[in-house]
Amino acid sequence: MRWVGRPLPRYEDPVLLQGHGRYSADLAQGARFLRFVRSPIARGRILTVNAPPETPMITAAALGDVKPICPRLDRPDCVAVAQPILASERVIYVGEPIAAVISDTAADAEDLAERVTVEINPETPVVTLDQALAPSAPLVHEAAAQNTLIDARFETAGVVVAFTSADQVVEFTFTSGRQAAMPLEARGAVAAFDTASGRVTLSASTQMPHLLRTGIADALGIAESELRVIAPEVGGGFGQKMALIPEYVAAVWAARHFACTVAWIEDRLENLTASFHARDQRLHLRGAFDADGRLLAIDADILCNVGAYSNFPATCGVEPLMALADMPGPYQLTEYRARARAIATNTCPMAPYRGVSRPVITAAMERLMDCAAARLGLDALEIRRRNLTAEFPHTSVTGVVHDPGSYREAMEAAAQVIDIAQFRTRQQTARSEGCWLGLGMSVFAERTGPGTPAFAARRMVMTPGFERVELVIDPSGFLEARIGSSPHGQGLKTTLAQLVADETGIAPRDIRVVAGDTDRTPYGWGTFASRSLVIAGGACKLAGTKLRERLQAVASQVLEAAASDIEINDGRAFVRGTDLSIEVRQLARAAYHQSHRFPAIAETGLSAVATYDPYGTFSNACHIAIVAADGATGQVTIERFVIVEDAGQLINPMIVEGQIHGGVAQGIANALYERVVYDDAGNPLTGSLSDYLVPTMAEIPKLEIQHLVTPTDASVTGAKGVGEGGTIGAPAAVLNAVSDALAPFGVGIFEMPITPQRVLHLLREAERKAQ
């Protein structure tokens, strides 16, 4: 019996649904609460920080030689900047921590924080890309001339020729608004000092407990073994929780300093304004096409507003460098020129966010395809057919290797599901009645599960990638899988148990996956980049194979049969072709308590360790959206949304679909709703969920999902990552659909979110021009 491929209910859910899950805030009982005093000014010099006498206040001076956070890339086109744990001289964004106060309740701490007075001499901030790039723009960091933290370039030899020989050159500027990842659980941590051992246990809402330990230990100048980091239940992270943050360093420092338990539980206002943002980008794109619609060359200028600081360990290169490397996406392209810059501004820093740069580059590339198709009189499918990669492995112009996928097949399948011809007829009728329907598609390849080779190519000083897994069967026959990765709500424990079950013959219910505890798990990089199932899953499979061999060795001794004749299934070992069998529990007992009988496993016992570090694998999908645009209000409603996804071998189809649902919802949010807004003075204006518009159930349509399965050997399990695809593909499909709906007015969309107000504005402008 195979467990892989089954839509097994998640082992995580009963606990969570009954309210027994423990998140960081649940662990804060009895703790003293930290509250940060944050800068109300986007840019300025700190003159004084004062509190009434006796206020337990921590400032930069108290922290002494605690080191700042300084993420690095090993490349000459990149400037490293250091982020202080608490600002002492200057503040460079609204929300930057300046001091912390500590009290017995969260409310008291908030009262105390209000009594701290900070005098700041304000200076004119740079908020937007244009302001930061203006000739005499003030500098956010002295070291970064023209506020440029990264300025990376790529160019092939034939770009200029390709553009001169082109039949059509399509050119536009595409902008993506700033988003906040908005995990349901904001960040938070409880740091508990243990007087006996002198250690601190930090329970933090993080995606990367091991990296957090490294980062905090380095900042405090202590051995990593002084610190234990636990990720308890994590209520979503989406990238926002894969960075080292000043608040956690301060919390551990305070726990050690005051020798007590300290909690910092972020509130929603802090989370929306002072945690991390993402995707504030502008792309200038030129595409050269021949008369048959073949893409000859691309010239891209990629600008990312990365806010005030870089982030550790991903760095502020994560958006621009991935955009630079992955711009061609699923398309064949030989000539490519790109410049990708990370621009510092006096705004909240950026962290990776589900999809990383690809929601934006995919939207831009897919708009490019539709624009070129319209110019050449081709339909949207045909132009893509002529350009999609169909031969694998495919090495992109930037050197990225794509393993086998189904780029064209997914598109054709999606087109069939939605029945484009029938839609076109309906669209015509609707138009004659003044009702504006549109259909848009996007085709993309999602790089998933990148290991160290992929990150080394980006020249990250801290190069993430491998995952290690330890499997241990205990004397009662239960299996513990200790993984370095650390889930944040995606059901990883269930899928890994399914993988281990198939390898070892021990049923998932008898497998406990232990994650998110640096004392209990091997060093690993955590969860991001659609990597956990691919890489930790791969390691589970490799370790599982070894463990099965060890079980077979024990069984062969006990059952007096050749090890190769032993089959293990559902907790029992059988001798093939006989009725001889024994329970794994009995084997475990024997292995531990009569170990002298089993010299073959003397070294390891019933345990196995494996490490997996792949290059990475591409999943792919096609999204098609049908929308209706209301000409009187500008409102866009999504009528249908079809996804044909190829994630290789599905370990648990239900979980895969869950990933797609959540991802598409965030993609629709990017396309139509969410936008972090700053005023000219650098004040964030979207500090609550009534202003930062996260779509609800009512705004997200029913999704129609189909799967294709293309085998790959780029992943030992055959599984490809699927964590980000929904977020990557949805914006492009929606924007193309809105553009299609508004085509009769000559309006095309090159920005997101495309709000009703903007739709109406563009319609009015088009009317005015037509007159």
Binding site: Y673, D691, P756
Partner: protein
């Protein structure tokens, strides 16, 4: 996100509540459904020293018809209006409005009178009260007074209600079968505050509009009746040109708010569209 500390009172009777209000004056605040006050306190935008919780005063929890009016007590929750509270045109109209107020949990706590007291520019009930020229019954230790919306709403979140006063009851005049109603609202997400909304209440005789009440909300600092559009509608057959023009008049008549969700220009566009929709709804029903 934790409120400043406050004193808490839970009176059992109206008399006790107004005594407490008199005693605490500017420092005290009524707690009704808490759906506006509590978030404001958590953001520390509101810092009342004392809360006077009226949720235990059963005498305030009613909706009843009486003397040609629908009387709504201070504890009647929004959710109560999701199904008709009585027979007739008015009671059938209110559910179409009520479902636009926030989300179900909010409607189960928030009160009709609390909305009128809070006076959010985008409150549906404030628009209904204005359009139907409701009577607002106010009590304090100084006595009782009744006011009409035009002398009550003074701007965004501002009214002529005094700190020692309790808004005890709202009275809406019942509508007989000759009345038609329409309501249209635009918000970014289901449950969001309206960026613009319109309520149309028309009396028809032999296919002609003989009385028109047209209210617009969400777009300006307070709801308003659009007198010029009402005049245009009255005596007309409510044909497409009239409806279009009424929308234009309303769009020009208001002084629109501007915020991150909608510019003044866009708010006028939305008012135009919502007025037309509300009128069409009333005229085709």
């Amino acid at each position: 996100m934790k409120p400043v500390s406050f004193r808490y009172f839970a009176p059992r009777s109206v008399d006790e509540a107004i005594d407490l209000l008199a005693e605490h004056g500017e420092e005290g605040k009524i707690l009704a459904g808490g759906q506006s006050l509590v978030p404001a306190m958590n953001f520390r935008l509101a810092r009342p020293a004392s809360l006077i919780d009226i949720n235990r005063i059963d005498a305030l929890d009613y909706v009843r018809e009486d003397g040609g009016q629908l009387r709504i007590g201070a504890l009647a929750r929004h959710a109560r209006f999701e199904t008709p509270v009585a027979r007739g045109v008015l009671a059938a109209f209110l559910p179409r409005v009520a479902r636009h107020i926030g989300h179900l949990p909010i409607r189960c706590r928030g009160t009709f009178c609390g909305s009128i007291a809070h006076a959010d520019p985008a409150s549906e009930w404030c628009l209904v009260a204005t359009t139907l020229n409701a009577e607002l019954a106010i009590m304090s230790r100084r006595g009782r007074r009744n006011v009409r919306p035009n002398e009550y709403f003074a701007g965004a979140l501002t009214t002529t209600l005094q700190p020692d006063e309790l808004l005890a009851e709202i009275r809406l005049g019942l509508l007989d079968d000759s009345w038609r109603t329409g309501f249209a609202e635009f918000s970014r997400r289901a449950g969001d505050y309206a960026l613009a909304m319109a309520a149309a209440v028309l009396r028809l005789e032999d296919g002609r509009i003989v009385d028109a009440r047209l209210g617009v909300g969400g777009a300006a600092d307070r709801p308003s009746r659009i007198a010029a559009a009402e005049a245009l509608l009255t005596g007309s057959d409510g044909g497409p040109d009239i409806v279009r023009e009424a929308g234009n008049i309303a769009a020009e008549a208001i002084e629109p708010l501007e915020d991150i969700h909608a510019s003044t220009v866009y708010r006028r566009d939305l008012v135009r569209a919502m007025v037309r929709r509300a009128l069409n709804q009333a005229l085709t029903r």
